[in-house]
Symmetry: C2
Subunit: 244 residues, 2 copies
């Protein structure tokens, strides 16, 4: 059996996220159906990141086992010919049998796009978070420093059943302002559920003056989700890179 890795881009607007769901359309399902059409095989596609409904991917990685004879360089074209135009396979390659898109990932990188001006912008309404009140960038940059490094991020996690280790290492967290846009990029060894969106929401609260930059230290220490800012909406979030 081959172990095939694919790199995928998608517009998450019309999907209930990556992960298979019984009564809703997800990216994983649509891709598995496309693989079935092209190879004739029912596969279990493993995605590196389980993006939520409305979240986009400029670089999602997945892998599946297959006996297909289609060469990897032709696979993206074959899959794209049967995929809807909001999901595109940009790369395929044969990988070692041990490769697992999720467990083999060493780091993940996300981007969050904020539009900060008085009125919303129609052409990017599904691709950004509109905040009409002016954000204080200097304060947001101060807050960022407290988040970089290894911390218990329990306060930045939507509570759920999973009892995963809440300690993560943020290797890189940068904020750039270009005109009315604020771009936040964050790279870590892994992310807790909704972690990027809660960090973004908290930074936005700092920018709005609702939370002081230094308070981020106490929020981390509290391990209490209620102390952090809101969960930023999904449509501003992009999966950017998976490092193996």
């Amino acid at each position: 059996m081959r172990n095939i890795m694919i790199v995928i881009e998608y517009d998450g607007t019309n999907y209930h996220g990556w992960q298979y769901q019984k009564n809703a359309l997800t990216v994983q399902q649509v891709l598995q159906k496309a693989i079935k059409k092209v190879t004739g095989e029912e596969v279990a596609l493993i995605g590196a990141s389980r993006t939520d409904a409305g979240v986009h991917a400029l670089y999602q990685v997945a892998n599946f086992r297959s006996s297909t004879k289609i060469p990897t360089e032709k696979l993206p074209y074959a899959l794209n010919s049967v995929l809807p135009d909001d999901i595109v396979v940009v790369e395929a390659k044969d990988v070692e049998d041990s490769f697992h898109a999720r467990y083999s990932a060493k780091r993940k990188r996300y981007r969050y796009l904020i539009l900060n001006r008085k009125f919303p912008m129609p052409t990017i309404r599904n691709y950004s978070w509109h905040i009409s009140y002016p954000l204080n960038i200097g304060e947001m940059e101060k807050a960022i420093k407290y988040l970089i490094g290894t911390h218990d991020f329990s306060a930045f996690k939507t509570s759920g059943g999973s009892k995963t280790n809440p300690v993560r290492t943020i290797h890189d967290l940068v904020l750039k302002k270009e005109g009315d846009f604020i771009n936040i990029e964050i790279e870590a060894d892994g992310f807790l559920y909704n972690m990027v969106r809660i960090i973004t929401g908290t930074l936005a609260y700092v920018g709005l003056g609702k939370i002081k930059a230094e308070e981020v230290i106490q929020i981390l220490e509290s391990r209490d989700r209620k102390k952090a800012g809101i969960t930023a909406p999904p449509q501003g979030l992009y999966l950017m890179k998976i490092v193996y």
Copy 2:
């Protein structure tokens, strides 16, 4: 009667262009309906540019006569509260009685966005033209020089009934490559029907080697639409500015 000017942004994806049509949804209609809801008046909204189906606007100007008492600073909020989220009014002001959004315009500026890489990009599929074969930017830049200035642009006009003067002055035409994106901005005293899209299609043909840069001189002189390149698709086009 007041003469009110509004500045509008819209995502053209779901509209059959700006101009009123009997059996199709247009931006003008939706705005007129919103104005009716807010002021109670049936108005004739005059747009600076009649953008085609699928074309976007980051700065469209329109004007209408009204007896409403709503102050102009509140009008955008009132209109946006009843508009769908793909049309946003970002400014309103009272203007002289003689102001006419179309006839008073001195210059218009458009932008055209090309994605030039092997595979399409899902998140911008409705906001750009995907060209998979690599474009020769140097040749495109050469061709641009022949288009700037005052010319008879008959070769760059979709033939129709209107017998308007085909002489136009292009004041500015610039091409910028950033990563996989090519951005073309063009400013002129006015544009013939589909002129920006035919210029873009012709520049793309130059970039692909189907037309030589110098041939643009003969295309202009021929006044023959068949000699120019294809009409670039609407979704890469943005109305950027109206100068009065």
